[in-house]
């Protein structure tokens, strides 16, 4: 059984800072990490592998050469092999071009996949589009916002629990299928030193645009329907006012005056 986990390397940012002059993200001093949602997706794959001996996990990422580090992290956490899609022609891809490229790579490297796992979204772009788009391009079912999953004993069906607005749903589907994952109940793994060392001997291949059955016009900026025109920080919110040191009645009076003055009441 083959599980493909698509992952992305993202900047570790608690607070996005934008250079006001260039309109680009400030990346100095910001480390790169495996996108947390991708780590959750991988964790689901590793959990499946822990109960099924026949599972192999392929981690796939599209990115610059330094994205190898995110794939290395996957290998440390339990992936068996990794594939980096790396080519200048991929630069500037929007979610559509990214999905097209990933789908083509999966067809090339793991056409016999049973399950594709992705994080719900990346914490930098926040689009949550790539998973559903890859499923559409590959013509397979998709289950999004999944928090738990289990493969049937015959290895043909996947039973999942997904979050929805009203609570959660249990959805069972025939594989192959694409699932996008949330954290669920997982406790983040920590590899052992042995696993960190072993990861460095696992296969980590690189694939470029020539290996994919796509036209150059379908790749990168050329193949993108959308472009980021401008990035800007949200305007800073004013901090609230505190009413302190007054009796409750007087404090309420101050607050009512404020609400009136601001025309809230």
């Amino acid at each position: 059984m083959k599980i493909v986990v698509c992952v992305k390397q993202v900047p570790e940012i608690a607070e996005v800072k934008v250079n006001p002059e260039t309109g680009t993200l400030v990346r100095e001093g910001v480390a790169s990490i495996l996108n947390p949602f991708c780590e959750y997706a991988l964790d689901h794959a590793v959990r499946i592998k822990s109960v099924r001996a026949d599972v192999t996990i392929l981690a796939v990422s599209m990115g610059p050469p330094q994205a190898r580090a995110a794939l290395m992290r996957c290998l440390e956490l339990g992936a068996d092999e990794a594939l980096l899609l790396c080519d200048r022609k991929f630069a500037g891809s929007d979610t559509w071009a990214t999905s097209l490229t990933l789908a083509a790579a999966i067809k090339e490297a793991a056409a016999d996949f049973d399950l594709i796992l992705m994080g719900k979204q990346a914490i930098d772009g926040d689009t949550a589009q790539v998973g559903p788009e890859v499923a559409e391009i590959l013509g397979i079912p998709q289950i999004t916002y999944t928090v738990d999953m289990e493969i049937s004993s015959n290895g043909k069906r996947l039973s999942t629990r997904r979050e929805c607005e009203s609570g959660s749903e249990v959805v069972t589907v025939r594989m192959p299928v694409l699932v996008s994952a949330l954290k669920g109940e997982m406790l983040r793994r920590l590899p052992s030193f042995a696993e960190i060392l072993a990861a460095r001997s696992k296969p980590l291949r690189t694939m470029n645009a020539d290996a994919l059955s796509l036209e150059e016009s379908e790749l990168g900026l050329q193949g993108s329907f959308t472009q980021v025109v401008k990035v800007f920080p949200p305007s800073a919110r004013k901090s609230g006012q505190r009413v302190e040191g007054l009796e409750a009645v007087d404090a309420a009076r101050v607050m009512i005056e404020f609400l009136r003055a601001e025309r809230f009441v």
Binding site: G29, A31, R68, L190, P191, F193, L197, R200
Partner: protein, 546 residues
């Protein structure tokens, strides 16, 4: 050269210094200034000064000296022995002296250095060094100084300041005054090793500018300090030998010692460090490993095996005793997310936590020395947690804090029934060859007494923090007696009563365990020579006569 002249500051009136007067106002609006991290009670001060620079500090000290008013000097108040808790008189908080002045390359020693005022916090210092972003220097630096900063920024490497006391909100001056150390002292030594120059204000309001490597004790063990009137003050360096361990007890001494070392670690009783030049080191990628082992004995085996292998120098080497691991596992079972780590396996006894240089993007490095050392101790590296990404290393840092936090939580709970209760944490260290013997003493005495206890910390430096958790006040009394006995044993084995916390006000009785009356008199003589009236930090290191 063993003779040095003091320098004077520009005169400013003491009235120009920000000051809060009256114990009433200080204890109401500035109560946090009357204690420190040790929670030592009874802090009292009639005046609280906030000098902005050396001139203002000098004015305060001169005024206090003339009125024979005791002065307690406080940095960030992160000490654990009550060093900056004032007993009476005036309290001086140095917090406004918090500028980083310069980053420069010293051609002779071929190292980058930072010059900073005493109240710069270690976290701020490290943040600026790592980001190479020194807003203060850019704003106020001269053309030459900003050019040096530009050169630093062009450096292809990242740098760091190696001393790493766990409490990063500590002030740089405070860490110099106490010769602060921490986990990474195992590799890099204590603060002393990284201080290249200090400016130290003497109790008379005049200061010394002491670069390392210029003023050494005469063959007779003497320094002469001339004040601004040309009057010489003779300082005799103590004749005792300090233990061959990490040590924070007593005044530093040694043959042909450097004057700078007299003040570093003297807990502020001889003078106030106002500015410091520290050396930086190139930053390397590191990996932290928490290696699980079957028992405390196996943990000690691993400590020795890791120390004996020389191929891979370790930055730190720490212990989690069996009881410590049990406590953490218990906490995890109650709340799996509390510890922020995967479940500690049930078969795990103790753990050894260590760190070394690592290249994450290369598989050509040879780590077999570590793998083999672990293998010789009845386990293997599959039975471990490891991390090298900053985000993951932060998880380890949090994990490190959770143990003392859990201990404090237990004591806080018990305090509800026994208000006077507190934990007893040892700070003893012994030489390398006595680690096992000291461990046997801990286990024998504490088990015999039926005390609840655990141990963690800097086992690489034979400096394990044994935490005794008394269940009631009787056990607290018993624990205090045991503490004393353990201190005697550590000293008997050639160790120290305080490896890193210092003496301050809380541990003055232990100084007598480690030093003879004559040796303490030698320390007091130095204090008396520089501070004849005894106005500076009374009660620190030596008890004050009541």
């Amino acid at each position: 050269m063993h003779e040095i002249h003091t320098k004077t500051c520009t005169g400013v009136p003491v009235e120009a210094v920000k000051c809060i007067s009256g114990f009433g106002e200080i204890s109401t609006d500035y109560a946090t200034y009357l204690t420190d991290e040790s929670k030592y009670p009874g802090g009292k001060a009639e005046k609280l000064f906030f000098p902005r620079d050396e001139s203002e500090l000098s004015a305060v000290l001169k005024k206090m000296a003339s009125s024979v008013t005791p002065v307690t000097v406080a940095g960030a108040r992160t000490g654990l022995v009550g060093g900056c808790v004032p007993l009476r008189g005036a309290l001086v908080s140095l917090e406004l002296m918090n500028q980083i002045n310069q980053v420069y390359y010293d051609e002779c020693s071929e190292e980058w250095r930072v010059r900073a005022q005493c109240a710069v916090s270690l976290s701020e210092l490290n943040r600026c060094i790592l980001s190479k972003n020194f807003a203060g220097i850019e704003k106020h630096g001269t053309e030459e100084i900003t050019a040096q900063l530009a050169r630093f920024r062009k450096e292809p490497y990242n740098y760091f300041y190696p001393p790493d006391p766990t409490e990063l909100s500590a002030s740089l001056g405070g860490t110099v005054a106490t010769n602060a150390s921490g986990a990474r002292t195992y590799r890099y030594g204590a603060t002393r090793n990284w201080v290249r120059r200090i400016r130290v204000m003497l109790p008379n309001g005049e200061f010394l500018d002491i670069p390392r490597g210029k003023y050494f004790a005469s063959p007779a063990g003497e320094f002469i300090i001339y004040d601004s009137t040309g009057t010489p003050v003779h300082i005799r360096t103590p004749s005792y030998r300090l233990p061959a361990t990490k040590n924070a007890a007593g005044i530093f001494t040694g043959p042909n010692m450097d004057l700078i070392d007299l003040f570093i670690g003297s807990e502020g009783i001889l003078g106030t460090v106002t500015a410091i030049d520290v050396a930086l080191l190139k930053r390397e990628e590191k990996i932290s490993v928490i290696q699980f082992v079957a028992s405390d004995e196996k943990a000690l085996d691993l400590v020795e095996a890791l120390r004996n292998q020389k191929a891979i120098p370790l930055d730190f080497l720490e212990l989690y005793s069996e009881e410590a691991v049990k406590l953490l596992r218990g906490r995890q079972k109650k709340d799996p997310k509390a510890v922020g780590m995967p479940p500690i396996p049930d078969h795990v006894g103790a753990a050894v936590f260590f760190e070394f240089s690592f290249q994450s993007d290369s598989n050509s490095m040879d780590y077999s020395a570590v793998v083999d050392a672990v293998g010789r101790c009845g386990t293997d590296v599959r039975n471990s947690w490891a991390a090298y990404e900053p985000r993951e290393l932060d998880r380890f840092k949090t994990f490190r804090h959770i143990l003392p936090e859990t201990v404090n939580g237990i004591i806080a709970e018990r305090k509800k029934q026994h208000p006077g209760l507190h934990k007893l944490g040892t700070d003893l260290a012994v030489p390398d060859n006595h680690l096992r013997e000291m461990w046997r003493i801990y286990t024998k005495k504490l088990h015999a007494a039926g005390m609840e206890w655990l141990a963690f910390g800097h086992v690489g430096d034979n400096h394990v923090h044994v935490n005794i958790l008394p269940r009631d006040t009787d056990e607290l009394e018993q624990g205090l007696e045991l503490y004393h006995e353990l201190a005697f044993e550590a000293v008997r084995l050639g160790g120290t009563v305080s490896a890193e916390h210092g003496i301050g006000k809380i541990k003055t009785p232990y100084l007598k365990v480690m030093f003879t009356a004559d040796q303490i008199r030698q320390m007091r003589d130095i204090k008396h020579t520089l501070d004849p009236v005894g106005i500076l930090n009374p009660g620190d290191m030596f008890e004050v006569a009541s």
